[in-house]
């Protein structure tokens, strides 16, 4: 135990003297929270809609006016031909085209039924779905207006069909930043854990100082624990630092207990640090560690559920995700921060993260060789 304290003292001295690592500990969380959280958003801020109106009727104008009334719809109704409108879509000047056929109003009056065409740029499927959802809402609203007008029924009459009233729980204003911030924090903790620890160990191999330690009676576990604890502390510190920024800058509510959050983060960090150290026991240079860590990092993050819900992944992918520590930690972060879940709600995550932590740490200790 005393030996580990000597190692820790040495590591902290080196970290605090390092002109790269020390700023990173403070700069990375600030950058990630202030830039990534704002930048990584699915909220539609502006939709450019081109209208092609072949009908030029009272009713088509009414519907266009309804679109125009929504702040983020920017309606351009200049194009008389679909061809010109499609060019705009192609050049990314428009997000969607709304086409009124010639007999739009006539069909509506004569057949009680008419059609419009909505063409949406679906390169980004998420935005496309949002545009569709917004448009569908506007059109159904328009329908109700017409029914009210024609049948002379006042708008406040109880509706004849079932309606949904929404009430969004845990994030009532659907603030995307609240969704992203815990996820970005999870990534932050992971980067600190995997990269810093791994790079640190392999650097000792590169400059040769590890040899001097390897000829001492230092135990393998003492060495690995001595490398793990400093970055464990830095990781938890950065989590606290990032949470404070999120709380100050975008009022991120922290519903659950901080103790639960940091307890789970502590277990999670043992796993990622263990993996980072394991990778560095296999590598000889910092480049190798970078590449391999980056490979795992990409897979873990993209499958971790920060951008796409894990529930919508194919079954085989969900099975693989059982081995992904970020998947569990992402859930923990969001559930504790936004929902106020406690340890009993997170039992499955706790067990899984513990198993992964013990496994990766044991691999690192087992694989570290004092004798080449």
């Amino acid at each position: 135990m005393k030996t580990i304290l000597y190692l820790l003292q040495k590591e902290f001295r080196q970290i605090f003297r390092n002109k790269t690592i020390l700023p990173m500990i403070f700069v990375v969380p600030i950058m990630q929270m202030l830039i990534l959280v704002f930048a990584a958003t699915y909220d539609m801020k502006r939709i450019d809609l081109v209208v092609v109106d072949h009908d030029m009727s009272e009713n088509s104008r009414q519907l266009i006016a309804k679109f125009d009334g929504i702040p983020f719809f920017h309606v351009h109704h200049l194009e008389q031909s679909e061809k010109l409108a499609e060019d705009k879509l192609l050049n990314d000047e428009a997000d969607a085209i709304l086409v009124f056929p010639v007999n739009f109003e006539r069909n509506l009056i004569r057949d009680d039924e008419t059609k419009v065409q909505l063409l949406i740029n679906a390169i980004e499927s998420n935005s496309a779905q949002l545009i569709y959802a917004y448009s569908a809402n506007i059109i159904s609203d328009f329908n109700k207006d017409i029914i009210a007008e024609w049948k002379g029924i006042p708008e406040f009459t109880p509706p004849t069909k079932v309606e949904i009233t929404e009430n969004y729980w845990y994030n009532p204003e659907l603030d995307y930043k609240w969704f992203m911030a815990p996820g970005i924090l999870a990534i932050l903790v992971t980067i600190i854990g995997m990269f810093m620890s791994g790079m640190n160990l392999v650097r000792e191999k590169e400059i040769g100082t590890i040899e001097q330690l390897n000829v001492t009676p230092l135990k393998k576990y003492q060495f690995i624990i001595g490398k793990l604890i400093p970055f464990w502390i830095i990781g938890l510190f950065d989590l606290a630092f990032g949470l404070t920024i999120a709380w100050l800058v975008f009022d991120l509510p922290i519903v659950g207990s901080l103790f639960t959050l940091f307890f789970m983060a502590g277990i999670y960090l043992i796993g990622v640090l263990g993996l980072g150290l394991f990778i560095s026991t296999l590598a000889d240079t910092q480049q190798q560690v970078m590449f391999v860590s980056f490979f795992f990092m990409m897979i873990f993050v993209l499958m971790g559920g920060i951008f796409t819900p894990v529930e919508s992944m194919p079954n085989w992918a969900q099975t693989i995700d059982r081995l992904n520590p970020i998947y569990y930690f992402m859930r923990v972060m969001r559930m504790v921060v936004l929902k106020g879940s406690n340890i009993t709600d997170l039992l499955q995550e706790l067990v899984s993260l513990s198993i992964l932590g013990i496994t990766f740490l044991s691999l690192a200790i087992w694989r570290y060789r004092k004798t080449a």
Partner: protein, 241 residues
């Protein structure tokens, strides 16, 4: 007067793929002597010293260091040896005192004992004024003296020095050898590799390696007599040719 054996190697072989770095080495080092391991660059000196320190495992052969088996009792050996590698390997971003503190801590030396030895050592090496300076800022000669002192700080039975005086001037080398003599006088067995033949004269016994084999092993005086040479330089050239 035959002194007891502290290192013994019998038919030590180390292969890297098809390359044989150590080809059937057999030798014994006696307690308290300064044993020189000579050879040109690439002769296999560093490979052998790394095996003896437990940093590398041999392909075959029997090796005992400080009475412990190299295969099964590596960690016990490590308690009893000190090692100074060819490449300076103390922490350059720590001060002299911090490096001493770290290694003293790892070897389990008590705080009180460390303080005593440390001030004695700094006085001897005339490093008191720079004890709180980062090692990276010191000249090479000072670094090497310090590396040696840290290697024997825990009073090991044997110290292994791998080309300890590479790249320093003759005066500093001479001073370095004074430190080696002092350690030997205090009962530490010294196993030193070098390719400076004048240093070979300082050793009690030397072995001369060439292309992975030990070609000669005896006291410098006997080797000079045997090869009819006036100095070790001539002996070495005759063997290596």
């Amino acid at each position: 007067m035959e002194r007891e054996t502290i290192i013994s190697a019998r038919n030590l072989v180390k292969n890297f793929g098809h390359f044989t770095a150590n080809d059937n080495l057999s030798f014994e080092v006696r307690k308290g002597e300064i044993f020189g391991f000579l050879g040109a660059n690439g002769a296999g000196k560093t490979t052998a010293i790394r095996i003896l320190c437990g940093l590398s495992s041999p392909t075959s052969g029997e090796v005992e260091v400080a009475g412990f088996d190299i295969y099964r009792e590596t960690e016990k050996i490590k308690k009893n040896i000190g090692y100074m590698s060819q490449k300076f390997s103390l922490y350059e971003d720590l001060t002299i005192l911090e490096n001493i503190k770290l290694y003293a801590g790892i070897y389990g030396i008590s705080r009180k004992q460390r303080k005593e030895k440390e001030s004695e050592l700094l006085k001897k090496l005339e490093l008191e004024n720079v004890k709180n300076k980062l090692i990276g800022d010191l000249p090479l000669g000072w670094k090497q003296k310090l590396a040696f002192s840290v290697a024997i700080f825990h009073d090991p039975k044997i110290v292994f020095l791998d080309e300890p005086t590479g790249g320093v001037d003759p005066v500093t080398r001479r001073k370095f050898w004074d430190l080696i003599y002092e350690a030997a006088h205090n009962g530490i067995t010294v196993f030193v590799t070098t390719h400076y033949m004048d240093e070979a004269e300082y050793c009690d016994r030397v072995s001369i390696m060439n292309a992975g084999r030990i070609e000669a092993l005896d006291t410098p005086a006997k080797l000079k007599e045997k090869y009819n040479a006036t100095n070790m330089d001539e002996v070495f050239l005759k063997i290596a040719r």
